[in-house]
Symmetry: C2
């Protein structure tokens, strides 16, 4: 299978799904269909040309679709699969974009028809904005993509890799679900917990906006957060997230104790270490 010969359906034309649709059209996918339950979104998707056809449900497009990209919240992913099991094309591929994986593998995958190849995926590119109006496949450029190691067909994995590369992603890395949920608790869920707590800890004694620089802007950017999605992600990865929050707090306490005891050498040591680590990040 080559990208130009296949039909792809993107389910959920929000900022992430919309970016997939747009990027797939640009990359030359044979057909790109879109499914969304919002009529306004469907109209916009058709009008902007990021899909060839737009549908309210899967009945018409799914039977002729080779690859289904489901860009829905974790809970809705399960509902969509249950409602559309009869429509999926024989031996077709499904992939998702959710930020937690153990739960999807354990609770959602068993509900899918057995001939369908479910490749669990996580594109590490997002936006703090919501909705199709902010869809832009440019966010994928040089971003990381995680695929979950499972019993998928090799030819299907190869197709996924081709598509991911054509969308502009830089790295594709394979993890099992436990590894994924552990590292993502650190790089994604902990960072959101920190940003939210930082901005909420402001007691508003001052008009903070007048006294900030880029550091505060950067550290709070992701505090604008989709509450339904992130509440699901936090609770769906509970133990890992609690572990990471506690690890972070312990390290912050090292700085706190150093400030308290005016231990300048420990401060400098922490700063040198953080600088060294940050230089390695691309």
């Amino acid at each position: 299978m080559r990208l130009e010969d296949i039909a792809i359906t993107v389910v959920g034309l929000g900022v992430v799904g919309g970016s997939f649709a747009e990027g797939l059209k640009k990359a030359g996918a044979g057909k790109v269909y879109g499914i969304d339950n919002n009529l306004e979104t469907l109209k916009k998707a058709k009008k902007s040309g990021i899909v060839d056809e737009a549908f309210e449900n899967g009945k018409i497009p799914l039977p002729k679709t080779d690859l289904v990209i489901i860009s829905l919240y974790p809970e809705l992913l399960e509902t969509f699969i249950l409602e559309n099991n009869e429509y999926f094309k024989e031996n077709s591929i499904i992939t998702d974009v959710t930020g937690i994986k153990g739960k999807v593998l354990r609770e959602v995958k068993p509900k899918l028809r057995k001939d369908i190849d479910f490749i669990l995926g996580h594109p590490m590119a997002g936006r703090e904005k919501r909705g199709i109006d902010y869809a832009d496949s440019g966010v994928f450029k040089n971003a990381n993509y995680i695929l979950i190691k499972a019993d998928n067909k090799e030819k299907n994995i190869n197709l996924m890799k081709e598509i991911i590369e054509k969308l502009g992603f830089k790295n594709i890395n394979f993890l099992d679900t436990e590894e994924h949920d552990e590292i993502i608790a650190f790089t994604s869920q902990l960072t959101h917990a920190i940003a939210v707590s930082l901005i909420n800890s402001d007691d508003n004694k001052y008009d903070t906006n007048k006294f900030i620089g880029d550091s505060y802007r950067d550290l709070t950017r992701i505090a604008k957060i989709n509450e339904d999605l992130w509440a699901e992600l936090f609770l769906g990865n509970k133990d890992n997230l609690l572990f990471m929050i506690e690890k972070f707090e312990k390290r912050l306490d090292v700085l706190k104790e150093a400030v308290k005891s005016e231990d300048i050498e420990t401060l400098k040591k922490e700063f040198r270490e953080s600088s060294r680590r940050r230089e390695q990040i691309t």
Copy 2:
């Protein structure tokens, strides 16, 4: 006094001082002199044209300088003033750029010759990079500037305001030193403590770089930190910083407890509040 009629000396041609020099030349300052103890830096400053003349010390330029902008670490600020008290032009103006103010007002200002008008200032624009090679007055565009309320001459304050505006800053706000050090402990020093602790809490079980998105990149950008400068800033604002760290930790504990007890309503409430607050930040 108008900008085009006066001579300005920038002391310390690092990334901040260099940006001042460059911006002042662009804004049409009569003369811009530079002082730095690094000969390579002086050569670069002359060659790139961001100063009219460059000096290793203050002996020659200071007697003909109307405004001295001292862009040095807090400790070096004091040393520079002690060493150059005899050279400052009569009734000239001095301003600084340091990130803590109570200490400067209490410990440094009293050492300055009495005819000199010391206006304490804090441009809230910086770079994680160091050195004259990264000097770029573009970072001042739309940034915040704090001036400290003190017994300065009105005409001198007006000149400072004119210069700050011409450099591209958006807001000039007046605070006393206690207010400044309190709000800056929150918006600047706490954010750096968080970024450093986040990246240092990584146990490197994974090749983290492969599993990050923009959220981790944003939250760790300022973890690349000048250890001498920031150790001074942390310890020079000790009590305020400890207070802010503890306030932040308490709010993070709200999220932690909500995750632990699977209290989805509290999570969503925190997320809605953080989103509302972030929307107000420009």
